[in-house]
Amino acid sequence: MKMHRIKLFWKIGDAEKKVYAIDYDADQEYSTFLHKCNVSGYRQIIISSEVMVLLLKKSVINDGFQVYRIEFQQEDDQLQEEINGILDQLPTKPLLFGELLERLKCMTERSSIDIKNIYIKGRNDNGIAVNYYVQSNGIIGINNEVFENISEEISSLVAGGLFYE
């Protein structure tokens, strides 16, 4: 499954904040890519843990997708094991999603950049496979087949979570 990667930015000079999704080729050096964007007036967007939780809620509750992996900034084996345990059981015990959210919300009270990556998969209403990941540094990878819709949805959710209500 080929992934289309983008990174989210806002742009200097915009009177009203808008989220820009710029294509990011993983073969390109990240710092060169960042520098080019910076020179063009783009400023990075961090997807905070609070917004990650919003994304998880939307993907799982609204879209019916499955979250299958969550990674954290801090290496904490016990926490990772605990979260992995919940994620493994989620397909058969969907009610555990509430517990997962509670656990993540507790974490966001301590740190807003602790959730590093989330991985989501599932099928959309047309039965097409959906697979994407979201990184706290604003990089998003989405399988080509559903790229347009999913990237638009994520961009608009991030814009809402950070800049509007």
């Binding site: 806002w10 200097i12 000079g13 915009d14 009177a15 904040k17 710092s31 960042l34 520098h35 910076n38 400023r43 990075q44 967007i45 961090i46 905070s48 843990s49 609070e50 917004v51 900034q73 301590r110 740190s111 807003s112 950049i113 590093k116 706290s136 540094n137 604003g138 809402g160 979570g161 950070l162 800049f163 509007y164 209500e165």
Partner: protein
């Protein structure tokens, strides 16, 4: 003001004391106080009482004036899960993925009219982008990257407040060609002279 008060108080308390004792000397009615000493004892005690009453009056006036005329705001930048004071200068460093976070705690005591169109600003940084962790109606980041808190909104429509609000910010490191650091200093824009402002600063460090 304090010095003027210190000059005025002895005179006023003397006038009050003499006026009071000329009306009624309590000590003249005590059998065990010799008649020729009743006035001296009375005037000494009346002076002291007048002095104390004036002090109490002064405190009341100062508190009232402070509450109605002055407002106070304190802004503390701190690292998450740490304490900071106006004297401390926390150091904010980016993690391996070029992200950092901090808290901005705003304590306000005063009147809303003193904060009309008044903003707290964290100026833009050339090598980092500041943003809120979630949308908040009190916070904006303008088109040039200045993080701004609308202080009037912290009153939630009330005329007065005594409140403490913590805003969480995250920072993304932009590309740098060498180590960089900058002092983040919260500024109040359009501060009125009757607003007393105390704040600390934080050092933001970026490694190449």
């Amino acid at each position: 003001m304090n010095k003027l008060w210190k000059l005025v108080v002895p005179m006023v308390s003397a006038i009050i004391g003499i006026a009071a004792i000329s009306k009624w000397n309590f000590f003249a009615h005590l059998a065990f106080v010799p008649e020729n000493m009743a006035y001296e004892i009375g005037i000494t005690v009346y002076f002291a009482i007048a002095d104390t009453l004036l002090d109490i009056l002064k405190e009341g006036i100062v508190v009232r004036l402070k509450n109605s005329v002055l407002s106070e705001i304190g802004v503390i930048i701190s690292l998450p899960s740490t304490e900071a004071t106006v004297e401390s200068t926390p150091i904010i460093r980016f993690n391996d993925t070029g992200q950092a976070e901090a808290n901005i705690t705003v304590k306000i005591q005063g009147a809303r009219r003193h904060f009309k169109n008044v903003y707290l600003e964290i100026p833009a940084v050339s090598f980092a982008t500041v943003q809120p962790t979630r949308y908040s109606s009190e916070v904006t980041v303008d088109g040039s990257g200045v993080y701004r808190i609308n202080l009037e909104k912290l009153f939630a429509g009330n005329d007065r407040t005594q409140s403490e609000t913590t805003f969480r910010i995250v920072l993304a490191q932009e590309t740098v060609d060498g180590d960089r650091d900058v002092m983040l200093e919260p500024k109040i824009v359009k501060k009125k002279i009757w607003v007393c402002y105390k704040h600390n600063r934080a050092r933001l460090e970026a490694k190449a």
